[in-house]
């Protein structure tokens, strides 16, 4: 039986690899741009040669090999593809809100490559997004890192298969509202949130021990040991303890951030990134010392009580204290202008161009564990690139073309207006969606837990 399982698993693994092998890779020569490499300074009048999806050469007077298209970017800016460390784009479902711990669910099973928001993100220069589980649970589901290969219809093709595993955690108002006040179970307070975490990890340690004992016994001749029952939830928690999964934790208040740092240290967990982190500035030295940093909004605040004592200077304070800091969207609209969100750190804290650009490129790449592959313009890295009219940190900047793996997926001059890949056969009249505030989906799919959709609307960050 076990052998058959292994065989099936191997087949499944093979089929996924087969699928990702179909991903398109492009070649292109971009000439005479102002190249914002992010990690290696700004190169005036420079060329970038891409071959088979990889940045082959960065320099001057490069020539296009046979069959490789040349794009003249004179007077334009070239930067690495923008990376959003917090998004819910391209997901059919966001929250499995049924238990304070749902580590077993996976966003990669929910990927929807047809969502037009992916194209709209590309039109804002975003090539990679971290498709996260929602914030209804203390330990949420596993996230997926997406590459915006718009036009692919196979979910596997827009998943960045080589990215490490990550998982969503959430502290504060959302999990206590859903479980404590919604379902009448722990946690109802920030004390309960800590208990859920510690209990969960201790249970996982026990589970690991039972398996270790069983495996030791099973290798003995003539043993009669019964195997422990497989528990996927505890398997995932064990993987977190073993450092195989990066935690991305929804958090706002300094006390809860500090709590998780302590819990992580007690359990020997070092792969930890804080998300939102509005009060991160209060514990910036601790975040810098013990974690992989924080991914924050540029200026969102006051939409709920736990973000009332926020400051738009958060990213600057974190950066000055040495924490890896990224700017994220968590929002289908905001993701369209992350370059502008990053630019706000120049008004609020005087960040340099390089610091501001890092917050949407190499820093989120570090937090997602993919900085060796993307996040800067360096030879050998994947060719995710954006051409801008105007400096990307100018309020007047307009993205012109966006490339993923050297393939152009957005061109302001050539693209059709209507980018839908799928059109509803049942809707006679196309719905007109009128703006009614921020459209974050952190609390999507928890509607049934609340009296009215309106109350959800207020609570959806």
């Amino acid at each position: 039986m076990k052998k058959v399982n292994y065989f099936l698993a191997a087949l499944l693994g093979l089929s996924i690899q087969f699928a990702s092998a179909q991903v398109k890779k492009g070649s292109v020569l971009i000439k005479n741009a102002t190249v914002l490499t992010v990690t290696e300074g700004t190169l005036e009048n420079s060329d970038v040669l891409v071959q088979d999806g990889i940045i082959k050469k960065v320099g001057q007077n490069l020539n296009a090999p046979n069959g490789v298209t040349t794009i003249d970017a004179t007077g334009k800016y070239l930067m690495p593809g923008i990376i959003d460390a917090h998004s819910h784009l391209g997901l059919d479902v966001v929250n499995e809100a049924t238990s304070p711990i749902v580590a077993e669910v996976r966003m990669k099973d929910m990927v929807n490559p047809f969502e037009v928001g992916i194209y709209r993100a590309l039109a804002g220069g975003v090539t990679i997004s971290h498709a996260m589980h929602g914030s209804a649970n203390v330990i949420g589901g596993q996230n997926a890192t997406l590459k915006h290969r718009w036009g692919s219809t196979d979910p596997a093709d827009i998943i960045m298969q080589e990215a490490p595993r990550t998982i969503k955690f959430a502290l504060g108002e959302n999990p206590t509202r859903v479980h404590g006040r919604g379902n009448g179970i722990q946690p109802r307070t920030r004390m309960g949130v800590e208990a859920i975490l510690r209990n969960g990890f201790n249970e996982a340690i026990q589970y690991k021990k039972e398996w270790a004992e069983y495996n030791a016994a099973a290798s003995q001749k003539g043993n009669t040991a019964l195997s422990p029952v497989h528990n996927e939830r505890l398997e995932i928690l064990s993987d977190i303890l073993d450092g195989k999964i990066i935690i991305h934790c929804h958090s706002y208040r300094a006390d809860e951030i500090y709590m998780l740092i302590n819990v992580a240290r007690d359990f020997g967990i070092t792969k930890l990134v804080f998300q939102h982190t509005n009060e991160g500035f209060k514990v910036a030295p601790e975040i810098a010392e013990y974690t992989m940093g924080a991914s924050v909004f540029a200026d969102w605040w006051a939409y709920k009580f736990e973000v009332y004592y926020s400051t738009a200077y958060n990213a600057a304070i974190l950066t000055e204290n040495g924490a890896i800091t990224s700017i994220n969207s968590d929002d289908a609209e905001l993701i369209r202008h992350l370059y502008h969100e990053a630019a706000k750190t120049q008004r609020y804290g005087g960040m340099t161009d390089e610091q501001a650009l890092s917050m949407i490129t190499i820093n989120p790449a570090k937090q997602l564990g993919i900085a060796d592959k993307v996040g800067s313009i360096e030879e050998g890295k994947q060719a995710d690139l954006v051409i801008f009219e105007g400096h990307p940190l100018s309020s007047y900047a307009v993205p012109q073309m966006t490339f993923v793996d050297g393939v152009k997926y957005f061109d302001i001059k050539e693209d059709a207006d209507d980018q839908r890949m799928k059109i509803s056969a049942t809707e006679m009249v196309e719905p007109v969606m009128i703006y009614e505030g921020h459209d974050s989906r952190c609390m999507q799919d928890t509607e049934s837990l609340f009296e009215t959709t309106e109350s959800l609307f207020l609570l959806n960050q």
Partner: protein, 433 residues
């Protein structure tokens, strides 16, 4: 009794050293009125071009003089060499001051119960001490329309300056009755009604609007004829819109609704302003022909339809302006009204152009509100709402260096800045344990 008094004084005396020791650190900088001479700047007047090496004199809350050689006599001189002076920006639609924390209902004061409550006064509920107000004004936004929401006639909006200790001190001279024009589209992601239900609701809302309007007209007629009517404050307020005494701010967004609204206002004799107008670009010529001014926004928004080009919300304001519509820009926000200059920049970059975008946050809203003689440009005689910056205030790199509201020099601080000052270099820092 005497003894008691004695004991009391002894007690007070004992307290004295404690009171003397109690101290309050730091000086609180208050808004400060005065005579100020902003010397030798580049003045972007909006209405009279760009003036180099020009000074602006502020006195008695007004712009006293704009010129090259102004006497500094008795004035506090602020050297503005290499700096730019602009009029304070006006946000044509916000909920600023009406809400403190969106998710805490006790702090949300923009939506009263009921479908017909035009007599609800936004100005009454404005909290002059809202933390968001100083957060907003350091960006150079000095004046906002603050607007009630919810229902068919949710209330009366008011224009406020972002300085003052009472709503009346803040009031900037414009009020308008808000109408949410019956919406034939979906209300957003969570609206799961069927097409049929939406249509029915839309028809009912239109009928309600017509009935109420007719009643308001009858109300006026009966009053004029000397009839004695029951106390009906809602109707008394709406009646002011039917005569044009108060303008009607019609919130309308979908293209078909905009066309329906244009038809609806025809011959009604109301002073009409359209707000929202997110699909205005689809019917821009019709709006221009109807000569109805528009307050549009937010600019940073998603397209209204899946099939729309990604940049339609950025380009909307510019397309309407090009068609001849008078356009003002709003954020439709509460805590982040500070983003108004950036919304204007996006509109500028996607077709509106910088000059027109500046007008859309200064002179155009002033004209739409009937206050162009007081606000919206740097001209002698106008209210001294001014900003001084070291560059283009639409750019995030630019520092806004001074803000004047009604001649008051505003402190450029707020809670977000104070948190920055406290926590940038925290002490104690990291305590290794």
């Amino acid at each position: 009794m005497k003894r008691l008094t004695k004991t009391f004084f002894a007690f007070l005396l004992a307290l004295l050293p404690v009171m003397a020791m109690a101290q309050i650190d730091g000086e609180f900088i208050k808004p400060r009125p005065g005579k100020f001479l902003l010397q030798n700047a580049t003045v972007v007047t909006i209405t009279k071009g760009v003036l180099n090496n020009t000074s602006v004199l502020i006195e008695d809350g007004k712009i006293k003089e704009v010129g090259a050689n102004i006497s500094a006599d008795g004035a506090e001189v602020i050297d503005c060499t290499g700096k730019f002076i602009y009029p304070g920006m006006i946000d044509g639609g916000t909920k600023l001051g009406l809400v403190e924390v969106s998710s805490v209902p006790e702090t949300v004061d923009y939506a009263e119960i009921g479908n017909f409550s035009p007599n609800m006064q936004a100005l009454t509920a404005v909290n002059p001490n809202s933390v968001a107000i100083p957060v907003t004004r350091v960006s150079g936004v000095t004046t906002v329309l603050t607007v009630p929401a919810g229902g068919l006639f949710p209330g009366t909006a008011a224009l406020i300056n972002l300085n003052g200790y009472t709503p009346d001190q803040m009031y900037a001279g414009f009020k308008g009755i808000v109408m949410n024009f019956p919406n034939s589209g979906r209300r957003g992601r969570f609206d799961r009604r069927s097409d049929e239900d939406i249509k029915k609701a839309n028809e009912k809302a239109l009928k309600d609007a017509n009935d109420l309007w007719d009643n308001a007209k009858s109300y006026n007629k009966l009053i004029a004829d000397g009839a004695k009517l029951d106390y009906y404050p809602e109707m008394a307020q709406l009646a002011k819109a039917t005569t044009g005494e108060l303008p009607l701010l019609i919130e309308v967004n979908a293209a078909s609704d905009i066309l329906a609204a244009i038809k609806w206002v025809e011959g009604k004799g109301a002073k009409v302003i359209f707000t929202g107008v997110s699909e205005g670009w689809r019917v821009a010529d019709s709006i221009a022909t109807a000569k109805i001014p528009v307050i549009t926004g937010p600019i940073q928004a998603l397209p209204t339809r899946e099939s729309d080009r990604y940049d339609t919300p950025y380009a909307n304001a510019g397309k309407m302006a090009k068609a001849g519509v008078k356009v003002a820009i709003r954020t439709d926000d509460q805590e982040n009204v500070r983003n108004l200059p950036f919304f204007a920049a996006f509109a500028a970059a996607y077709g509106m152009g910088k000059d027109e975008a500046w007008k859309a946050v200064t002179i155009n809203p002033a004209e739409i509100f009937g206050l162009a003689d007081q606000y919206g440009s740097v001209e002698a005689g106008k209210v001294a709402n001014l900003i001084v910056a070291d560059g283009d205030p639409f750019e995030t790199k630019t520092n806004v260096m001074h803000v004047f509201i009604e001649g008051y020099r505003m402190p450029l601080s707020n809670r977000q800045i104070r948190l920055y000052q406290e926590f940038l270099d925290r002490s104690p820092g990291l305590k290794v344990n």
